[in-house]
């Protein structure tokens, strides 16, 4: 449901009119609109923004690990409309799997591979679900909060 103070917001209201059940929350902070979307509806919402609201560009897809909260991952999409000069941020909280946005925005391909590589979130339906940054035989997902910054497997001074 859309919070009271955001009924006036054009984008949020337009989405609420079409997919009222998809909105899990909405907030405007620092002049940026953030819409929390139910993970099951993310593709429909992305499609809505692309086809009906002229958001031609997917700027980036990334994730935030809220460990130890559950569900721990927030998948964050930044969209831009060049035509209307607008930006919007979509967020979906998932435990470890979400539908791939590559069918809607081709640019999602590498960004989702990066999130899979560094966070271990699986994007179902991704055309090439492989690691992109780390070596193929790497164990673990480095950007998770419970992955240590230093001292993975061996510490300084020791031979690997």
């Amino acid at each position: 449901m859309l919070p009271e103070q955001l009924q006036e917001n054009e984008l949020a209201a337009a989405l609420a009119a079409v997919y009222p059940a998809a909105i899990a929350g909405a907030v405007v902070a620092h002049g940026e609109l953030t819409l929390h979307i139910e993970p099951d509806d993310i593709l429909a919402v992305l499609e809505f923004f692309k086809r009906q609201q002229q958001f031609e560009r997917l700027s980036t897809v990334t994730a935030v690990d809220r460990y130890p909260l559950e569900p721990r991952f927030e998948i964050v999409y930044h969209l831009q409309s060049v035509e209307r000069n607008l930006r919007v941020r979509l967020k979906a909280s998932v435990a470890g799997e979400i539908a791939s946005a590559t069918a809607v925005y081709a640019a999602a391909n590498w960004y989702e591979r990066e999130v899979f590589d560094l966070f271990g979130v699986v994007f179902s339906g991704h055309p090439n679900p492989k690691r992109i940054m780390m070596p193929d035989d790497w164990e673990g997902h480095p950007l998770r909060r419970d992955f240590p910054t230093h001292g993975f497997k061996y510490s300084y001074g020791e031979q690997p």
């Binding site: 902070a29 620092h30 935030v64 690990d65 081709a106 640019a107 940054m133 780390m134 480095p142």
Partner: protein
């Protein structure tokens, strides 16, 4: 390439009469890849049937390290993301943190930031022009552009003490006051440089080899470019004035009078033309910044964010306490998240910064232009010749550190 190396790359024994495709590894040590990019090419004779960029060779976990450092220590990492546009990265991160803090930066610092960001753009374009022309066989350009780049690096050194890893723009303002007489070398550069751009163009614009290798090469429909995430001079060479400096002005760019150069050619030559025009526009902005430079401090009055001056620390107890608190605990940035976008020389540079209210960032994600642009490489080079792919890769102007982070 010797027979022993090519044999395992052949996919399978072809049937009689069928064409045979060859798989070729370009890079990770190929000179035209400017860093460690590996492109796996599937070739049909001279033509590229399929291209698969393999990145990650320069992945250094900068985003992970950001989470282990204080807010102000992260600045030194942002330098190392894009080592040709370090001040753009400093600026983007600082703006993001200032947005979270709700901090207003003094006008003089804002103007100096604009001035430095534009000099960075010229610096980056000079490296691009030199190496791009070198790839296509024009060796002289490399020496000429690096001659002018040296002047710029001296200017950066004068401001910050460093030629490359400047860390000069910090949350709350600038690291140091500019040194006395800093205008002089900047003015000298402004007077000197327009004739240098003319010199570059006189060498290239009528050069038949340059024109043959760039005109009509690397054309991609503009919708496909937007779809795949290409930004910066590439999208502007396709006629779309996508520029964060105009669309969402930051650091008082709205006070400057400049154009966003666009071309309609959409080929390698149009990208060259856009970048040359951008250097001229940047000069215009630097000139305006110099002439309209406001008086005043270069750091905000925010004791909990900006380190106190050295002199004050020796005489005032409070200054010493704040210094100790900032250095040991980090700046306390309020809880929240922002996505700050600036126009880096390569395109849209965005920092997505999340704070949980502590002295360290919860998450710093860099939306880097090289990553976005490089994703479009297969679309640009497929069905074209290998030699064209060198020109196209040069026109992308990627920095692998920026891509892999």
């Amino acid at each position: 390439m010797s027979e022993t190396i090519t044999e395992p790359l052949l996919q399978q024994e072809p049937e009689a009469g069928a064409t045979r495709r060859m798989t070729l590894n370009m890079g990770p040590q190929h000179p035209s890849t400017h860093g460690v990019l590996r492109v796996v090419l599937e070739l049909d004779g001279e033509f590229i049937e399929k291209a698969r960029p393999e990145i990650g060779y320069l992945h250094t976990g900068i985003e992970k390290q950001c989470e282990a450092l204080n807010w102000q220590q992260v600045i030194t990492l942002t330098d190392r993301v894009d080592y040709l546009a370090n001040l753009s990265n400093n600026l983007c991160y600082s703006l993001a943190v200032e947005k979270l803090l709700g901090l207003e930066v003094p006008p003089k610092a804002q103007f100096l930031r604009v001035l430095l960001a534009e000099l960075t753009r010229i610096n980056s374009h000079l490296v691009w022009l030199g190496t791009h022309a070198l790839d296509l066989g024009a060796m002289t350009m490399f020496f000429l552009t690096f001659r002018e780049r040296e002047d710029l690096l001296r200017i950066f050194e004068m401001f910050s003490g460093q030629r490359l890893m400047t860390s000069y723009i910090r949350p709350g303002g600038l690291a140091l006051d500019p040194p006395r007489g800093w205008e002089k070398p900047v003015r000298a550069f402004l007077e000197d440089f327009p004739s240098k751009i003319d010199e570059y163009e006189s060498l290239l614009n009528a050069n038949p080899i340059w024109l043959q290798r760039t005109q009509g090469i690397g054309v991609l429909p503009v919708e496909e470019m937007l779809e795949i995430g290409i930004t910066g001079p590439l999208i502007r060479a396709a006629g779309i004035p996508l520029d964060a400096r105009k669309m969402t002005p930051y650091s008082s760019y709205e006070k400057f009078d400049f154009n966003v150069p666009t071309e309609t050619g959409n080929d390698v030559f149009a990208r060259y033309a856009v970048r040359m025009a951008e250097m001229r526009e940047s000069l215009k902005i630097v000139k305006q910044a110099l002439e309209g430079m406001p008086e005043g401090p270069t750091r905000a009055e925010a004791h909990r964010v900006v380190l106190p001056e050295r002199e004050k620390m020796k005489t005032q107890m409070e200054a010493l306490i704040y210094h100790f608190k900032i250095v040991t605990e980090g700046i306390a940035v309020p809880e929240g998240e922002v996505f700050q976008v600036v126009e880096s020389p390569r395109g849209e540079l965005g920092y997505y910064v999340v704070s949980d209210g502590s002295g360290k960032p919860l998450r710093v994600h860099m939306r880097t232009p090289s990553f976005g642009n490089l994703q479009g490489l297969p679309n640009l080079v497929e069905k074209r010749q290998i030699s064209d792919s060198i020109a196209i890769m040069g026109s992308l102007d990627f920095v692998l550190g920026d891509c892999d982070r």
